[in-house]
């Protein structure tokens, strides 16, 4: 037994199978679309197929006569012309933000935008009637190329704004006092024969989050509070934003996120359809429901990434990096999402990654185009930054003729140097890049694969081997509120928790973090079981309903454990402190003589003791308790972190490229991640696997492609190729731990690591396989077609023998190969 008040650790670190699963594997689920209160009316949104047009007329008459229809409405019919969807992140004081209407008013700005809504008794009737709404348009040429759009004199997405550039945000380490001047570093390097300047342009293609559960919303106006069920990651934010948007008092709104089928950032938004359901439910006095089809989801749910990155890195010829200049163009789409403008900005602090870079400048312009809006997608800004720097490290290694791992090691922060304050002004608390790398190289057989690579090069094997490296870090646990304040974010970054000790000794834990597949119920139960010394099974985690969990900031940015988990620990400590007072009273001992371990308060040196459950019952009875106390053990806590946490890891990919066909095969993937202390290894492993799959998919498979008219051409799962089981291998994943010092549990967060790290590892590997053949760059996704073409160009052959690749920034068929429309590589 311990002799301190420290809880004994028995649950933390255990591979507990998940509590959540008993229901889900039996089909006992409660996703939003499965909820239909009696009398529910269904809505279907009439959507434009044009990317940019003025609306000349809307004829609702046929639709209104259609069977089962209750009404057909435009924004004007709903009196909602002044309603604008919220953007919570004005990144600059002069950020240009167009009104984002609930339904297009007078014009449409992206293909898929709603122009009218049909309400009917059934979903089928609503959809039938939606087909009958006649909308006439005067189409205009769509503005699709973000680079052209950012230029002076460009045609305007929103003419009243006078520009397509929403905001330009800059970080300069010289001006901030966190480092030297990049402009000086470039000037010096250019004039110094012992230095080198490497300039590259990378493209972060547009991705679709593609959570498996389509978005859905049910609004029931019949109670004293309006109840909104929504397939959302952010029930608390949705409640606040519904108030901001529609003016309904927050206290009259109850938001419930029941089971939610994945989000990955894609369900972080506040939706026009959610607001339409609220407006219609109020107007009609009946429950109103919307569930999107998959195509609707692909067209209108926000997309992710979509940046052009112009990077300049300077270094001494001995490999020491002296500066990094980052210029980004970020495509916002046609409107600003809830946090969309801030997403690329989050990358500003991650471009320097694990390296000691003395000078950093980051300039990002957010640009409007006539496309679906972009916002958070797993990693949000950090995958883009990690891709940029990790690709750049390989390019620098090539230019200097160095081994890319060795060059990284020369520049990274060594483990003795922690805590380390970076050029971006962040203080990395702990890490050990050497250890993660050594272990990953061992598991991977780095030396052996390098030998095989050389052998294949020498023999001219048609299948060449490449080794891709990514030594990444990320900032997790969004976020210290004061940091968010300094970035002009429209909220804080704290998280709330409450613990209720029930009379029978069971424990209810209320968290403001709203899970959608992460396993909160299991991991949080493990934490509470240890803190209070109660059985894991006795802990019930309640979340996702603003009437149960009134306070919270929800789940994104790998924050649930690192912020929400610590709030739970703090609440548990308060419970124990109260219980101790009552225990001392009942045991007629001084508090100082009590010790707490395994759920029991014992009088030191005696066998007198009381279990916390007995204290809970005694407190409920309240027949005998100290005079200076209330009869309650229940406790609340709100935790606001002081720093981010910084997981890191070394990821290695063995890529095979068939030089005859361009076919790319991921042969082997190894990663060793330091995510701090691990609560549940099973859950961690699952998060890493899923993250890897999404990051690899960006490198190899996925891209949202628009044609010249601004139509998303791959708006179904037929054409937008999220990987199937047959497209991926098994990964070798391990974790190591240097405990975070910024929080009590020593945890760092794991939700986004795999996605952030893997994309550059794959692309570096593909290029490493064929660089000696003269290929220096391939845009993502690196499909067979693109690889084959790059090889033809390098050979001086004609890449136009097959249909031309119309991919250019913002337009064209991109990766879609008519001979291989799914872009299959395996």
């Amino acid at each position: 037994m311990t002799t301190t008040a420290e809880p004994t650790t028995t649950e933390i670190g255990k591979s507990r199978v998940r509590k959540e699963d008993a229901r889900l594997i039996a089909g006992r689920s409660r996703y939003t679309d499965s909820i239909t209160p009696p009398g529910t009316l269904h809505i279907a949104v009439v959507r434009t197929t044009l990317a940019r047009a003025t609306i000349t007329s809307i004829d609702k008459s046929e639709a209104e006569k259609s069977p089962g229809v209750h009404g057909v409405y435009t924004a004007a019919d709903l009196g909602a012309e002044a309603v604008g969807m919220p953007c919570a992140w004005p990144v600059t004081p002069d950020q240009k933000a167009p009104q984002r209407p609930v339904l297009g008013i007078g014009r449409v700005s992206f293909s898929g935008e709603g122009v009218a809504v049909v309400v009917a008794r059934s979903m089928a009737e609503a959809k039938d009637a939606a087909e009958l709404v006649e909308v006439d348009y005067d189409p205009q040429d769509a503005i699709l190329d973000m680079e052209a759009a950012s230029k002076d004199g460009a045609d305007l997405v929103h003419p009243d704004l006078g520009t397509n550039v929403s905001a330009t945000w800059q970080f300069d380490s010289k001006a901030m006092g966190t480092g030297d001047s990049v402009d000086d570093a470039i000037k010096e390097a250019e004039s110094d024969p012992d230095s080198i300047v490497v300039r590259r342009r990378f493209r972060q293609q547009r991705l679709i989050p593609a959570f498996m559960e389509p978005r859905s919303c049910v609004v029931d106006p019949t109670g004293e509070q309006i109840t909104i069920w929504s397939a959302t990651q952010v029930p608390h934010i949705l409640r606040t934003m519904t108030t901001v948007t529609l003016g309904i008092p927050e206290s009259k709104l109850r938001v419930i996120a029941p089971d939610v089928g994945g989000g990955f950032g894609g369900k972080i938004g506040v939706l026009p359809e959610e607001m339409l359901c609220v407006l219609l439910a109020q107007k009609l006095g009946k429950p109103v429901k919307w569930t999107e089809t998959r195509s609707e989801s692909m067209l209108t749910a926000h997309h992710g990434r979509d940046q052009i990155q112009d990077l300049t890195i300077t270094a001494k010829k001995d490999g020491t990096i002296t500066g990094l200049d980052v210029h980004l163009l970020a495509d916002m789409g046609s409107y600003l999402g809830l946090v969309g403008p801030g997403v690329p900005i989050l990358g500003a602090f991650m471009f320097n990654a694990i390296y000691k870079i003395p000078a950093l400048k980051f300039t990002c312009s957010n640009v409007f185009t006539n496309k679906t809006l972009t916002d958070a997608y797993r990693g949000a800004g950090r995958p883009e930054a990690t891709f940029g720097i990790e690709r750049m490290m390989d390019e620098l290694a090539v230019e200097l003729g160095r081994d890319p791992m060795e060059l990284r090691e020369q520049n990274w922060i060594s483990h003795e140097e922690f805590p380390f304050t970076t050029v971006a002004g962040l203080t990395y608390d702990t890490g050990n890049y050497e250890q993660a790398t050594a272990r990953a190289m061992e598991l991977f057989d780095y030396a052996g694969l390098r030998r095989e690579q050389e052998e294949r090069k020498r023999s001219g094997d048609p299948v060449q081997l490449g080794i891709g490296i990514s030594t990444f870090t990320e900032m997790c646990g969004l976020a210290p509120s004061r940091v968010l304040g300094s970035l002009d974010y429209g909220a804080g970054g704290w998280e709330a928790a409450s613990i209720r000790m029930l009379a029978t000794g069971k424990v209810e834990v209320i968290t403001g973090a709203s899970a959608h597949g992460q396993g909160h119920e299991t991991a949080f139960s493990q934490i509470v079981a240890d803190q209070l010394g109660v059985p894991f099974e006795d802990v019930e985690i309640l979340h996702g309903d603003t009437q149960v969990s009134p306070k919270g900031l929800d789940t994104y940015g790998s924050r649930s454990l690192v912020v929400g988990g610590i709030a739970i620990v703090n609440a548990a400590e308060k419970v124990v402190a109260k219980a101790k007072k009552i225990a001392a009273h009942l045991l007629e001992a001084s508090e100082d003589d009590l010790e707490f371990a395994n759920g029991t308060f014992t009088v030191k040196g005696t066998d007198k003791g009381k279990a916390i459950q007995e204290i809970a019952f005694a407190t409920f009875m309240a027949h005998d308790y100290p005079e200076d106390m209330e009869p309650s053990l229940d406790s609340d806590a709100v935790f606001d972190p002081e720093n981010f946490s910084y997981p890191h890891g070394t990821h290695l990919a063995a890529m095979e490229v068939d030089t005859d066909t361009g076919r790319v095969t991921l042969r082997n993937y190894v990663c060793v991640d330091d995510i701090g202390n691990v609560i549940n290894p099973l859950i961690v492993e699952g998060q890493v696997h899923g993250g890897l799959a999404q990051g690899i998919a960006q490198a190899l498979f996925e891209e949202a492609n628009y044609d010249e008219q601004g139509t998303l051409v791959n708006a179904t799962f037929v054409d937008y190729t999220i990987p199937s089981a047959a497209d991926l291998p098994s990964f070798t994943t391990e974790s190591m731990s240097t405990a975070a010092t910024s929080n009590k549990l020593g945890v760092k967060g794991v939700g986004e690591a795999g996605t952030i790290a893997s994309t550059p590892a794959i692309v570096n590997g593909v290029l490493d396989a064929i660089r000696h053949l003269g290929v220096t760059e391939i845009e993502m996704p690196t499909t067979s077609q693109r690889v084959w073409r790059a090889l033809q160009v390098a050979k001086g052959g004609n890449p136009m023998e097959t249909p031309s690749d119309t991919h250019s920034p913002g337009a064209g068929l991109g990766s879609i190969d008519p001979n291989n429309p799914k872009g299959e590589v395996l």
């Binding site: 591979s15 199978v17 998940r18 959540e20 699963d21 008993a22 889900l24 594997i25 039996a26 089909g27 006992r28 689920s29 409660r30 996703y31 679309d33 499965s34 239909t36 089928a124 593609a210 959570f211 498996m212 559960e213 389509p214 089971d259 939610v260 089928g261 994945g262 990955f264 089809t293 998959r294 195509s295 959608h516 597949g517 992460q518 396993g519 290894p681 099973l682 859950i683 492993e685 699952g686 696997h689 899923g690 993250g691 890897l692 799959a693 999404q694 179904t716 799962f717 037929v718 999220i722 199937s724 089981a725 047959a726 991926l728 098994s730 990964f731 070798t732 994943t733 391990e734 795999g754």
Partner: protein, 169 residues
């Protein structure tokens, strides 16, 4: 309206349905079998997979009336006498699910796969469940679940916990 008579999870139903009603919608909306989920409109995701007359089908690609006279098993009817099916157990033991949205379809597809091939290799599992998409797990633990279930379903096998820690295979 057309009449449809089906047995779903052991219960007989007779309903008048619209001819265009999909089996997936019939199960969810008419019968309240909401354990079966819908994830797409192009029959690609497999979230809606059920068994019709013993074989797995995507219930969004079958009309309710086509199931007339047939026997349907959904995820809700897979357990027998309060005992979970070994594939269900394996998904829990091996962490084969996260958000759970693909899970009912994935399990129904896996049960059918193991009916055809009781001892599949990793490659065969990956090919066999190719028609079911999962965005959360990266499939690795799904593959592990299916192979672990196969082991536990072998005649004479004692149900046992699958290994949980460590990576790779």
């Amino acid at each position: 309206m057309t009449q449809v008579r089906v047995t779903v999870d052991g219960v007989n139903y007779a309903d008048e349905v619209e001819p265009r009603l999909l089996l997936a919608q019939y199960l969810r909306e008419t019968l309240g079998k909401t354990g079966t989920l819908i994830g797409c409109d192009t029959s690609n995701c497999g979230a809606c997979t059920v068994h019709l007359n013993g074989r797995s089908v995507k219930s969004c690609s079958v009309l309710a009336v086509q199931a007339d006279g047939g026997e349907v098993t959904t995820i809700e009817g897979l357990a027998r006498d309060g005992q979970l099916h070994p594939v269900q157990e394996a998904f829990r033991e091996c962490h084969g699910l996260q958000c759970g949205y693909c899970t009912p379809g994935m399990i129904m597809a896996a049960v059918d796969l193991l009916g055809d091939n009781p001892d599949p290799t990793e490659h065969e599992v990956r090919e066999g469940i190719e028609g079911n998409l999962c965005r959360c797990t990266g499939y690795q633990n799904i593959v592990r679940s299916v192979q672990s279930a196969a082991k536990n379903m072998k005649p004479g096998a004692v149900a046992q916990n699958a290994p949980v820690a460590g990576g790779g295979n």
